[in-house]
Symmetry: D2
Subunit: 344 residues, 4 copies
């Protein structure tokens, strides 16, 4: 079986493995205060074109979301997010476990709009007795979203403006950040993200690393004591150097962007084939996740050799699946899948 | 101004005040272990026609909901509730502050259905990797609902059956219980509630008491250590006897039901007048809360002398308001309001 | 049995009952925004000789401690308290239930010292990797303490100075505040408390009220959104006027201090009798709680007519008990107890 | 500088690195449901000589402690632990962040005794109003302890007996488990731990792995839904196979025990040298952590080439340090340190 069901099927990019081997028996201090982490921090600051940000490394996405949100909010505040946001559906209530409500806003395409955020704020402000309701305290969005859509610069600027107006820190979950930045439809860059958000993270787990997420804090007020929050939420890796080594490698010679682009190229090849074949999509995505709707016969045929995620049963005859590519996707496997689709 | 905006504008029923005066300088032990609480517990068990239930007294509704839900759920579980449920909108995230997600289900009339609960369970069970999502762990519903609707026996039986099938404790918030039981459209009784639910509470704050809610636990598994949960959530009143005195009075000579019926009678007189006048309603309610939709002129006219809650702006010309009666509503005030409505 | 085991055996001072009766059927808005609460707030500000403080009313002590501490701390911070502090032993982990560690410091007499607080801070600051430990975030102390001792002005000033130096908000639990202020050994006044602390509360439950605690916030930074915290922790009483009426009464004509002084007078009469009889004390207290050590025979003899709290088994022959007086203690009952002690 | 300050200075055992390289581009499903994790689970069950246990893999120690304790306790319960226990001092209040108090018991040597646990239980049971206090709900101990001491079989049996009597699950933190099992003074084995505890974990981070802890659940009641708890606490690694690969390697050909024994051998060589030199110890340890007390001159001399942890300033002239060996400690470095000590 060739696996396209997710973007974390393999280990890490060979350059990372190589540096792990080379440094394996070198001694270093723990908890992210080693030279590898320092190197990675410097490289990320440079990529963000900002020297004044704080960079921290955590192990996984749920942990990172929980840590950032719990660090940012006051106890009676909640986080505005799309109903389809990862924190609202796929983190076993980790956000709520730290005491905070997710103020979920339904969206058609997984993307919050500035207008929706403004509406939430207006509704709260004009409530008779707002203290009986959760106070909106920050905004969470994913770039790219959980269903492969992306915010444009103008959309993100509008959101940033609303957030600033209401003193809502803006947090961007970049678990698949590379795949968003490299989308042909994206006009966002890393420096822009660093400019428009208060805190965001650069996903490693799904983009070339064994594991790891790099949190970038741009808002001065959120920097204080962040290491306490990391530790409390179990994200302070004893051998923190492992994170430093991985991110230093990913941000050397543009590796992070290069491998992301590879994933996008392969995804778009699959997309084009599906389109040519007249297969409809649940949603139009320009990133590494594609959501075609197969009929039962098509799905049965492809499922003999390819593993997809079942995403949504559309009707008795049709099912939307998720097909993921990643930095690790092999071109020959995509060639084979494309041939199989063409023969449906 | 005559106030109809809520059902907790006055103090307590005179019988309660009388007993508070009489017992004021009597000494008793604290924390609900006094003879008054014992008396109240016995009377409530009798009214529920069950000797095997546990009865506890807490101070307020948010506190009671929080305590019951935190006591019942495992950390990774959430509570299924209507989107309009009090715990989902008007408790400042108290449920989430104890670590639990409210699994909100949209409803047209504030009432959950057995089918909706079954759907939530099926969706969870059939999830690929259910442990990535909050596990539904109990069901919360309000009787009557926050918008004055009521469940019938057959609806509640169906819900109870679904809950039992999935081992979901069923919790009924009875903040306005008397006003639901006394609705002319209700076929529910207190013994039925005690039979069909795992835990519920009898609201005092809105039905004749200064404050206080009586929790009835029918499910053996939920009884253990409930006093620890009360204390931890700040609900163990030092002078617990105040709660005992109030509930003992309310459950003597059928006072609780008699004063509830008065509120309903007055509400239905107002409703009939509004209907005769052709004024539409946001929702059809047979309880002490009525939700007429006034045009701007009507609202301006009535607002010179009567205080209502603004419930929802329907359009530029119309606003839905909430008119509440209660045990304390004076007939002459209702007469006056009726006359004013008739003259609109 | 005459009960001396605690200071919340009776209802409320007759003046309070009187005002509850008079206002019972008056209508008012809920949640502490009524004229009675406004009146009480004005009276308390005046008693504190500060117009710039915020005053809020909550129902009980555990609830108040939890709300204040959860409102004040960041998630990774803890509260410094005496090991014998109420929050550390008798609140069923309510503080921890909001995510915070009590940083307990052993004391001989229930009183924290400025030196101890400084030591805790130095230990934390000089830790190699302080982020691996809970950060001390505020100081909690009780006035009077749980064992009847009191801080002097100079002690409190020293504590306040250390707290300011380390930006630690100082919170004083005044559940028995009146009984501390009226101790003949106390040189503290209400205005001093308002000057030396960041937040404190004036206990009503144990000092004349049916229930209720008045929180006074002097630190500007802690004022914001406190009503959200009250609501989230279940402390926002629907009929908030009940709290307003009680505190307005207590702060009219110096009632709060007068009834506190009565309790102290009666306690000191008992203390003098015990001393004259040569009965030792577990701790020397000048407040309404006395802790004599009786031998088994003495205890058996007194226990036929008087109820005390068993405080500590000293050895096989001796037991320390707690004898409490209160605003409600009747002089004739104390006369009788004194006679009984004299006849031991 | 040669680093002896902790036992997580290097990467992983070469066998692990080798298997990571070999499997790097193999595809597998995520979240611990891959064949590598299955293999590791089977090997650990076999090493525990119990087929009926559940085995889960988490990333780090604080995360594991938090997850296990939050999964086990009811909201109003606390965990009994030594005051020096890792959860009480070095986890930034992670346990409290999930709502639970650590019921800390002072010890001379870092080891809880059965008698102390019994005392805590008796004190709680005989409390007048136990619901006002945190209910002891489980026992946490570390093997070996944070200061290198170890429990004997008879001590652990006594603890297990007390725990069973009071229905307290017994949880053993085995962050350094190998170094405890291989101590020459230890008579504990892995199957014994699996027999005497309800849940424990086998530390990987400090014993040969890059990271990772293997939780073994022997108590049937604790098995249910543990994966939900892992996910909620951010411990469910996307590429769970990394944990499977590491633990499968460690439990192949007795690698875990062999590398632990190496660390002990080297530690005991250092210990013998220190003893021969007449240097005193803060505590007598037979594990990989040694706590000699150096005078200032000795410490200054050694610190030019060797890095130790400063553990405790004994007096102005003396400081206790921690010297750690590990699976990665090089014999030549120990030889060099021994020579340096001999020349002091």
């Amino acid at each position: 079986m060739i696996q396209f069901q997710c973007d974390y099927n393999e280990g890490a990019h060979p350059h990372i493995i190589q540096r792990l081997i080379e440094s394996n028996m070198t001694q270093s201090v723990g908890y992210g205060e080693d030279p590898y982490c320092d190197e990675a921090r410097a490289l990320i600051k440079s990529a963000c074109e900002r020297e004044d940000v704080d960079v921290h490394f955590l192990v996984g996405g749920t942990q990172t979301n929980t840590t950032v949100i719990a660090h940012t909010l006051r106890p009676y505040q909640g986080v505005i997010a799309a109903t389809s946001g990862h924190i609202n559906v796929h983190e076993t209530g980790a956000i709520e476990s730290t005491g905070h409500k997710v103020l979920a806003v339904p969206t058609a395409d997984g993307k919050l709009t500035a207008e929706q955020i403004e509406e939430v704020m207006q509704a709260h402000i004009h409530e008779d007795g707002p203290e009986h309701m959760v106070q909106p305290g920050m905004v969470y969005l994913s770039f790219p979203t959980e269903i492969g859509t992306i915010y444009t610069v103008s959309e993100l600027e509008a959101i940033s403006t609303v957030c600033k107006r209401h003193s809502l820190p803006l947090f961007v979950d970049g678990a698949r950040l590379g795949y968003g930045l490299c989308s042909p439809e994206s006009d966002i860059t890393l420096p822009m993200l660093a400019k428009l958000t208060d805190i965001f993270y650069i996903g490693g787990t799904k983009v070339g690393a064994l594991f790891g997420e790099a949190v970038v804090i741009t808002n001065e007020a959120l920097k204080k004591d962040f290491r306490y929050s990391i530790k409390q939420h179990g994200g302070m890796l004893a051998k923190g150097r492992l994170l430093g080594i991985q991110f230093a490698t990913l941000f050397t010679d543009n590796l992070y962007m290069n491998i992301s682009r590879h994933a996008i190229d392969e995804a778009l090849r699959i997309k084009a084939t599906l389109q040519a074949k007249g297969i409809p999509f649940l949603i139009d995505s320009s990133t590494n996740q594609q959501f075609p709707i197969f009929n039962n016969e098509q799905l049965a045929s492809l499922s003999t050799e390819y593993l997809f995620s079942i995403w949504q049963v559309v009707d008795k005859q049709h099912t939307a699946v998720r097909i993921c590519t990643s930095w690790a996707t092999q071109t020959k496997n995509v060639d084979q899948l494309i041939a199989a689709i063409e023969q449906l």
